[in-house]
Structures are given as C-alpha cells and as structure tokens.
C-alpha cells in the first residue's frame, strides 16, 4: 500500500509559502502523493490551484483531489483545468470527484443542489469524451486523461463508479467500513462487466506535533455536522502507534493508497509523519 500526505491548503493557520514548502518536503520525504480537500464556504485554497503550485516545485509525487465537488463546476472548464494540470505536471494528476456534503457550498456557488448525483455521473462521461476527442484543449499527458476517483456506497454511487470512474475513494473511518465499501465497489465493477478492477483509495486525518490544535481544526472544519464533529476529532491519528496500526489495518483491508491529511499548519508534521509512516 502506498502512503500519501495531504497539503495544508484547507487549514486557515497556513502562511502563503507553506503549501509549496510542504509539497517539496513531502516529495523529499518519499510520500507517494499530495492530497487536497475542496470546500467553498471555508478559508481554504482552491484545490486544483493548490496542486498546480505544488506541481511547479515537485517532479515525481502524484497529485490527488479528495475530492473536488464536481457539480459546482462547468464540465468543459473543469476538464480543461484538469487536463492542463495533468499536462503541466507531466501526467501526475488523479482527479477525485464527489457531490460534497454541504448544502451551503451549493448556495454560495449559486448552483442547484438537486440533481447533483446525476450531474456528477454525466460529468464523468463528458470529461472523458473531451480528453479523448481533444475538441477542447489541451490534451492531457495521461492517455485518455487523468484517472477518476469517486466515493459513495449507495447503489447509484456504486454504479457510477463501476461504469465511468477508475477507482473508489473512501471518506474516512475504521478499516472495516472501508473493507465493506471496497467489497461493494468490486462487486459493482464486475457485475456491470467492466474489465479489470477499481483502484482503492482512502484518507484519514493525523496530528502528531500538537494534537489539541489538530482537534480544534477538525471541530471547526466539521462544525456543520453538529456533535458528529467530536467523533471525527476523536478519530484523529495522534500517536505513532495509532498511525502504524491504522496503516496496517487499511493495508490488510486491501487499500492501495492511503492519504493522511494534516490538521495543523506545522511544516515539521511532514517529517514526523514520514518517520512513522514511511519507516
């Protein structure tokens, strides 16, 4: 299983230089990918712009969105942005897409919340068409365009994944819930007659240097979930033992790439995590 690290692009305490420094440090430490979150109604950098900045100062590390809220975007423009980033980074983009969990993101973007699932399904198909046909530029470096990841475990979400995406990205939680979701993703994939297998990705939060600061970030970021934010904060990975155990449990559950997302804007978190997770 590969291990990636998140960029601190959604942590309000970051300074403007932190994202590029973080990206360089993460590549040097040997992480497999850099992940970014998407949230409109929050003090967070735009995910594809953040990855573009990271791409400019790195050479090898994969760039992954976890996940961009697709229906908030015009499909052709999003396809162009993703193709541009794929080309500029030398084919390093993996594009995770979702419908998002918050109604207010849609309200701020002035996009209808209804029909978002159907729109995401159509976006997957249309973006692939654009990338293959090259009628709107540029052509991505990756043949056929960047790999597409989606989440969700309802019947329609799994069907969307199996028919039109390249892999499944899990939203967080214990390894057994990942395993259950991954099993359904594989079954849907086989049942619709798609050749091969879905890629399996997952994510979790960590905070080694200052767990208290990490927890208060999570409580703030997830305040819209009410008391559930407490549970998300409690699940934050705060010790080396917890991180190693967590990585093992996901590896055993069949995960192929786990991206650990930071909860503080301390650049030393990169090396702290590397010492534990990449040892």
């Amino acid at each position: 299983m590969r291990v990636g690290i998140g960029l601190p692009s959604a942590i309000p305490a970051r300074g403007p230089d932190l994202v590029v420094q973080w990206a360089q440090r993460a590549e040097a430490a040997g992480f497999s990918s850099l992940g970014v979150l998407d949230r409109v109604n929050y003090d967070a950098y735009e995910p594809l712009v953040s990855l573009a900045a990271a791409a400019a100062v790195t050479e090898r590390i994969r760039l992954v969105t976890m996940v961009v809220i697709g229906p908030l975007h015009n499909t052709v423009l999003l396809a162009r942005q993703a193709a541009s980033l794929d080309a500029l980074s030398g084919g390093r983009l993996t594009l995770g897409l979702g419908v998002g969990a918050r109604l207010d993101d849609y309200e701020h973007a002035e996009i209808d919340h209804r029909g978002r699932g159907r729109r995401l399904t159509e976006q997957l198909a249309r973006m692939r068409d654009h990338w293959e046909d090259g009628q709107v530029g540029p052509r991505p470096v990756t043949p056929g365009g960047p790999d597409l990841l989606v989440g969700g475990s309802s019947g329609p979400s799994l069907l969307r994944l199996a028919r039109l995406a390249d892999g499944y990205v899990h939203g967080g939680g214990p390894a057994r819930s990942f395993a259950a979701a991954a099993s359904k993703a594989k079954i849907a994939w086989e049942e619709v007659g798609r050749p091969g297998k879905p890629q399996l990705w997952a994510q979790a939060y960590f905070g080694l240097g200052d767990p208290a600061a990490g927890r208060s970030f999570l409580l703030d970021y997830y305040a819209f979930t009410g008391a559930f934010a407490e549970r998300i904060a409690e699940e934050n990975l705060e010790t080396p033992e917890r991180i190693v155990s967590f990585i093992r449990s996901y590896e055993e559950a069949g995960c192929e790439e786990l991206v650990l997302l930071p909860t503080t804007a301390d650049i030393n978190e990169v090396d702290r995590l590397a010492a534990v997770a990449l040892a």
Partner: protein, 647 residues
C-alpha cells in the same frame, strides 16, 4: 441529571436501572399502562446477548438465569415429519417475568416508576428518553427530526400461546386448501410456549381470516395445526392478525430544546422471525447508559456516540431480519425441497450462517444435505465440488470461475466476432443492441463514439443514455438476420465450448425486448411477457438447432427500477426458454436502463435465483460477489441454485 424515560417496557426499564447504577441521576419512568399489564408471551435471547447482559449487572443476570427456558435444537415439522437441527442454543423468558425483574431491580436502584402516568413535555428535564415503542408518540411529534420510514410486510401473523413447553424452537409448515400456513414457536415457561401463526396475504384472505373474529381465528389455527397440537391447548389473548412493520429512522437524537433520544422499538424494528426486537432494545439501553457515563460532561457527544455505536449493529440485524422475513414470505415456493435441504435452507435464511458453520453445529445435517443434492446417501462431499450433468454434458463440479470452476468467455458479439475467441468451458454470445457503438469498455461503459452507431438496433427507439443516439426499432427482417447470426455463431462453437449462454441480460438487444421499460412495441414482439419473449425465444430455438452442447440463457430477473420486470415475468421467461430447449438459466439483474439502484453486496442475486429455481424447476446458475467455496456450498446445499459463478 434529571432524566425522564417515557415507556416502561424492557428498553425503558433496563436503561433506567443501568443509568441509575452509573451516576447520581434523578430518573423517572412514565408508563401509560397500570403495573403488571402486558401483552405478548415470551421473549427470545441468544447466548451472546445473555453474556452481554450478565456483564452489565450480575445480580440481575442471576435472577434472569432462574427464569429462563433454554434449548439447543430447532425442530422443523412438515407433512407429519420432523427434522431436528442441533447446535442452536437460545433461551426465552416470559415477557411478564422480564418486566417484573427489570422493574424490581430498577426500583431497588432508586428509579421512580410511575404507572398509569402520562409524561408532561412542559416539565423541565435535562434529557428525555423515548422508549415508548413502535408507535412512539414522542417520535411522531417530532417526525421531521427523526425522519422515520416504514416498510409494511405483506404477510399476516397472529400471536397465540400454547399451554405446554416445546422441546426447542419449532417451525411447523402446514399446507391447506387456502395455501401454506406456518408456525414460529418456542418455550418461555415450564408450561407455556409462544405460538405465532403466519401466512401470505392471499392465503389469509382465501381462508376468510380477513373477516374472522378472535374466536374464529383461534378455532381456525387449532384446526389447521391439530395434527401437530395433538390436543395441547392453544390460547389467544386479545390476539389479532397483524402485519409486521420494519421501522427505520434517519436520526435517533433530537438536539435543540430538551435533548430527546429514541431507543428500542421507538427507533427501529426487526422482523420477529429472527427474534431480536427485545435483544436490540436492551442493547440500546446498555450502550446509551454507558455513553452517558463515559461522556458525562457533554450530553450531545454521549447521544451522538450512542447512535454511532448502535446504528451499524441495528442495521446489520435489520438486514438479516428482512432476509428472514423475505424467506417466509416466499417459503411456499420451497415445498418441493427434500427435508434436509429445506432445513438447511431455513437455518441459513438470513445470510449469517454458512455451510462451514452448520458443519460445526450439526455435522449429520450437513452430511444429509450434501447427499440430497446428489439424490444419494449422506456424504461428506461438499455440493459445490460434486459433479453435475447439465443438458447431457457432465461437469466436474458446480462452479464457474475461480481456480476450480469452469472458464467463461466475456460476452462475444454474434455480429462482429461471434466465431472467434479461445476454447472455453462456457461461451457467452450476445448482440449489443442499444449499447452498440461505445468506446472501449476499460475506459468507461456506455460512452458512445461521436456520431455513435447509426445502425444500433433495439426493441424500441429509446437511447441507452442521454448521450446515445436513439437506436433503430428492429424490423422483422432485422430480427430474422440476428436469429440467423446467433445460429451461425453457435455452430462455430461446437466442440470448442461445452455450455453456451445466450445473453438476454445487461440491456443488450435481447434484454431490450424482455423488459417492459425498453420494449414499447405494439406488434407481436411487445406487450405481454409472451410477446416480449417472442424474439428471444426464436434466438434460443435457432441456437438449439445448431448447438450440440448444453444450452443456457442469461437474463435479468429484475431491472432494479420501478415498473420493470416482475418476478412473475421472470418465472415465465425461465419456463418458456426451458420449454425451447434451454438446460439452465443464469439469473442476473439490472442493466435494461443505464441508471438503477442495485444492492451490490455479496450474493445479492441469490434470493432472486432461488425464487426462480424453486418456482419453475429450471436449473439455475447464479453469481454476484460470491467469492468463497463455503458460500457456494451454502447456496447449492440450500437449494437456492444449482451452479455458482465465483467472482
């Protein structure tokens, strides 16, 4: 904290007791009925639940232990014969005794229990716990917060009491002139058993029970089960015919105002046939009392944790209970199964128990079941690995795929490439129909090329997705050519495959005729299922005339969409193609239209396969997320399918 508990049933009383033991709270229980007034007869617990309850309160557990009736067998009565299944330890207690023990313990712990009392929502409390049952007035008053949904089960049942203790959990299946009636019964006191009679709505109406009084219903049950009762007394206690309601709520906690939490039947129900309603309610009570003690400084966190801990467990049981309820709703289809197979099917109905588990619980039943598959004496040979003959062709085992099973080709188009492909055990022949003209499937399904395939055919000119051009409505001449193409392709595979499957599934050409969603024709090839079958049947007949091996037909027994193919349609399809020379059907699902809602869990097609196999007698192949030989053995030993496709 000042806590109001509304409802003095098992969940409310048990919670009150435990929460009092774990903190210095002022706990008041409001019970609408007077003390000692109870309905119902007995309550079932598994050994696992009893151990859990014991850990929570040793003294109560000892009182429980004195009052429990325990057993370790399931006894299945059909046609005057009895099959005994060993290794099934369970226990039951009378509901009256359970409530007495709980209220006694709660009172001793300092809980204020008020009978014939109504809860006043205007009185100030720190927490209100709604344990007021499936018709919870507190939940109903705040339905927009809890967002309940109800599924009303189609079968009818009545709770009766039997004046003697049965030797174990007992099922009785009794065919009558009106249809099949069956009993779920278990002992709960030295001289008493719960005796629940259930049947389908149709049989219930045919027997005139929709108009029957309590006395007439009791007399009907006494007479129907006279052979089993042998004079033992059957009693009613204001017993009525009911329909079970599975209740789910999107939320179990109301924040804002006085915090309100629902538990037990107020929050969720699970069909009685897995006997876990009271067990789930009491486990809810235990977890809520513990999260309140663990997070005593933050009530909102305690309530959220309670829901987070309990919801996945409850949902798992609800899923098993739905599978079990579904089994009984269609158990009449299984009347043709041998006794051992029927018993094995019954105990594996909820999907929680497999062949290897039964092997540990009751080895002799597994030997008999294995033998029944082969129509032979008891044998240790597991059924998935036993040889089988299909359409005169002998196969070494009953598996398709996996390292041991037969090899199977992907669907091969009879137009483009029908005569090509490497030698295989099972070859699948298809015509893409409305799904023609797509890009390579590894890059996503059903993305038409620019311009698409202008020659794509379908039953009706309905585009497969919003991006497809409408296909051409197939003319009789088109259809004759396709029939000819199938027959030609099939002939090419003689000697190069042993089983040929005609693909009537996955929204391709034949499927577009079978599904009412995609066949809107008004000619002889549309309309009723017989009309929709006409073209697929002509393909099958033509293939049968040129193909020398075993012949199969793959089709979707459901579209997973409202107004799609019905189970009656699916059974008619299996019967019709079998009459045309098909030796086996593969039961598939979905795909007639691009968007549908299928439960993609392991074995999700098995219930459909079982219905079709046991309704029509046509041999069935089933797949769908089945990965282990143990699962395959379970499916075949239970008579749900004849062959299994492994993933």
């Amino acid at each position: 904290m000042k806590i109001a508990v509304v409802g003095g049933g098992p969940a409310g009383l048990y919670f009150s007791l435990l929460v009092r033991q774990r903190g210095d709270h002022q706990v008041t229980v409001f019970e609408r009925n007077p003390s000692g007034a109870t309905y119902g007869w007995g309550v079932v617990f598994s050994e696992g639940t009893l151990t859990e309850l014991q850990g929570a309160d040793q003294r109560l557990a000892r009182r429980f232990d004195q009052a429990l009736m325990r057993w370790s067998t399931i006894r299945i009565h059909r046609g005057g014969r009895q099959t005994i299944v060993a290794g099934q330890p369970f226990a039951a207690i009378s509901r009256r005794t359970l409530l007495h023990l709980l209220s006694e313990s709660a009172s001793e712990a300092g809980v204020d229990i008020r009978y014939s009392a109504t809860f006043d929502p205007d009185e100030p409390y720190d927490l209100v716990v709604a344990a007021d049952g499936v018709n919870s007035t507190l939940r109903l008053a705040d339905a927009s917060k809890f967002r309940p949904s109800e599924w009303i089960h189609p079968t009818r049942y009545i709770w009766l009491g039997l004046g003697r203790a049965l030797p174990g959990f007992t099922f009785v299946f009794e065919p009558t002139a009106h249809g099949l009636f069956w009993v779920h019964a278990y002992p709960y006191e030295a001289q008493a058993s719960t005796f629940i009679v259930e049947t389908t709505e149709e049989s219930w109406r045919r027997a005139g029970l929709d108009r029957a009084s309590e006395a007439e219903s009791l007399a009907f049950c006494r007479e129907t089960f006279a052979g089993f009762l042998k004079g033992a007394e059957l009693k009613s206690n204001r017993s009525l015919w009911l329909q079970f309601v599975t209740l789910r709520c999107r939320s179990w906690v109301r924040e804002g105002g006085t915090p309100l939490v629902i538990l037990g039947d107020a929050a969720h129900t699970a069909h009685f046939s897995i006997g876990s309603g009271t067990k789930l309610a009491m486990e809810d009570a235990l977890v809520l009392a513990e999260t309140l003690a663990d997070s005593s400084d933050d009530l909102a966190v305690a309530l959220t944790s309670y829901e987070a801990v309990r919801r996945p467990v409850v949902e798992r049981f609800q899923e098993a209970a739905l599978a079990s309820a579904d089994y009984f709703a269609h158990v009449a289809d299984l009347e043709g199964l041998a006794d051992a197979t029927f018993a094995f099917n019954l105990i594996t109905r909820s999907g929680r128990v497999n062949h290897l588990d039964v092997q540990r619980q009751d080895p002799s039943l597994v030997l008999a079941t294995n033998g029944a598959v082969l129509a032979a004496d008891p044998t240790p040979l597991p059924p998935a690995l036993a040889p089988v003959t299909v359409g005169g062709v002998r196969f070494a085992n009953r598996l398709v795929g996996g390292s041991l099973g037969m090899t199977m080709s992907p669907p091969i188009s009879v137009i483009a490439e029908g005569r090509h492909g490497p030698i295989t055990d099972v070859v699948v022949l298809t015509h893409d129909g409305p799904r023609s003209g797509g890009r390579p499937s590894q890059d996503g399904l059903d993305r038409p090329l620019r311009g698409g395939d202008l020659e794509a055919l379908a039953a009706s000119p309905l585009p497969y997705t919003r991006f497809h051009a409408p296909p051409r409505e197939a003319t009789e001449k088109d259809l004759a050519e396709v029939v000819e193409a199938f027959a030609r392709a099939a002939k090419q595979w003689n000697g190069r495959a042993r089983l040929l499957l005609v693909d009537g599934a996955n929204g391709r050409l034949l499927a577009s005729f079978l599904s009412p969603l995609t066949n809107q024709r008004t000619d002889a090839f549309g309309g009723t299922v017989a009309g929709r079958l006409r073209f697929p049947q002509s393909v099958v007949k033509a293939v049968r005339s040129t193909w020398e091996g075993a012949l199969g037909f793959r089709f979707s027994a459901t579209d997973w969409v409202l107004d799609g193919i019905t189970l009656d349609d699916a059974s008619a399809i299996a019967t019709a193609v079998a009459a045309d020379g098909v030796d086996l059907v593969e039961v598939s699902g979905g795909g007639a239209v691009a968007d549908y809602d299928a439960p993609f869990r392991a074995g999700y097609l098995v219930p459909l396969a079982s219905r079709i196999r046991n309704r029509t007698g046509v041999p069935v192949l089933v797949g769908g997320g089945i990965t282990t030989i143990d699962q395959a053995n379970t499916i075949i030993a239970a008579g749900r399918a004849d062959l299994v496709r492994l993933s």
